[in-house]
């Protein structure tokens, strides 16, 4: 997957992270949205049995978009950790948020509902993985 040129247009700066660096911390507050320009990022959830990787994102994927699009609050729903060296594009969150706010009510509802479902489904999946003894966490 490559980074869309439209997305590049939103970039205000580039940030570099070394292997295992914590890019976003679950539970912290923040509304920056990033796009991965190079490298891979692991998405991890805190569980009673330690950190669980729920997804690995790569070039062209977004990070931190959930906090922006959620209706409730802007806490990070998962941690994002560099898996090898990573280059991120920081997106203009003011512009993004303005464009988001300007969307018609039904579109906003559609997307924020999707994000909410995503969070709930992930939490449910994580709970079930933690309860299942077969899967070892690290």
């Amino acid at each position: 997957m490559t980074v869309d040129s439209q997305v590049i247009g939103y970039m205000v700066s580039e940030e570099r992270f070394s292997d295992k660096a914590v890019i976003l911390k679950e539970g912290s507050i923040g509304d920056w949205v990033y796009v991965i320009l190079e490298g891979r990022v692991k998405i991890k959830k805190q569980t009673s049995r330690g950190l669980l990787t729920v997804d690995t994102l790569s070039e062209g994927n977004f990070l931190g978009e959930m906090a922006m699009l959620k209706q409730s609050n802007s806490t990070r729903s998962a941690s994002a950790i560099a898996d090898g060296p990573v280059v991120l594009g920081v997106l203009d969150s003011v512009r993004l948020l303005q464009e988001w706010e300007a969307q018609p009510a039904r579109i906003k509802k559609l997307i924020s509902n999707l994000i909410q479902n995503l969070e709930e489904t992930t939490n449910k999946a994580v709970d079930m993985i933690v309860a299942s003894k077969e899967i070892k966490l690290t």
């Binding site: 692991k42 729920v54 969307q103 079930m128």
Partner: protein, 259 residues
């Protein structure tokens, strides 16, 4: 704009009684439903069992995933009224123009969210099936009615191999064991302790390489069709279909299958 509006069917409110099916997985439906009152359960059917993946209440939307995927794929889940419900039905045309005019970034974000939900739903379904202690043979039979017929063509083997999910680092080598080969795919077992950071779900693509004879390396890409707990403790077995193999590798494997 005004012209368009005249063509778009207005939102209508519909009442459903407890137990009514609102949308059915596999159907090609295009409407989106907003829950006005009542509770709706979302279910995914797998191997004859209905697995509940979500409960939605007032304000929640049903059927939005098909819309976001561009109405090109069938309903991924069924929705059933868990109590008497009132839903407002939106025709996709009500949203289509606005959705198309949305900045690309927001649309890409929605697309990413959709992919991830689908993946997490699979995890929920697969783990639910495990928890309900269903016989895996039954589930597999549900997935694949040709199982018995195909068994016949299968060659049992016991080959060490390495594999990695397609989107994982190139230097990753997870150890596994190939248990059988057929023309179209293979069966493998993997120790769960060898999968510290990787959760396999059906639909995942993996690279596999193995030596069928001392000096004959064969590599392939395969898509996981089903997973189950293996008879041996701490291991899972899975079946996968080949999605890519170089002609040379296919030839080697062909001779091996005949031998």
């Amino acid at each position: 704009m005004k012209k368009n509006k005249e063509k778009i069917p207005p939102a209508v409110k519909l009442n459903y009684s407890k137990g009514d099916l609102i949308i059915k997985a596999g159907d090609y439906g295009i409407s989106i439903y907003e829950i006005i009152s009542g509770k709706v359960g979302m279910f995914i059917e797998s191997g004859g069992a209905e697995i509940q993946v979500a409960i939605l209440g007032p304000g929640g939307l049903v059927g939005e995933m098909a819309f976001i995927s561009g109405n090109t794929s069938p309903r991924s889940a069924s929705a059933r009224a868990l109590e008497d419900c009132c839903l407002e039905v939106w025709h996709p045309l009500m949203l289509m123009n606005d959705y198309k005019q949305m900045p690309d970034v927001l649309r890409s974000i929605a697309g990413q969210a959709l992919k991830f939900i689908t993946r997490m739903n699979k995890v929920v379904v697969e783990l639910s099936l495990k928890q309900e202690n269903l016989e895996y043979g039954q589930i597999y039979a549900g997935y694949d009615p040709h199982e018995d017929k195909r068994k016949f063509y299968r060659k049992k083997v016991n080959l060490e191999c390495v594999f990695r999910p397609v989107n994982s680092p190139k230097d990753l080598k997870l150890p596994g064991r190939i248990r059988d080969f057929s023309k179209g795919g293979l069966g493998m077992t993997v120790k769960t302790s060898d999968l510290p950071n990787y959760l396999l779900v059906s639909g995942d693509k993996i690279f596999i390489s193995t030596y069928i004879k001392l000096d004959q390396k064969v590599s392939m890409t395969a898509k996981i069709l089903w997973l189950k707990k293996d008879k041996t403790d701490g291991a899972i077995s899975f079946g996968a279909v080949f999605t890519h193999m170089e002609p040379e590798d296919r030839k080697r494997l062909g001779f091996f299958l005949m031998a």
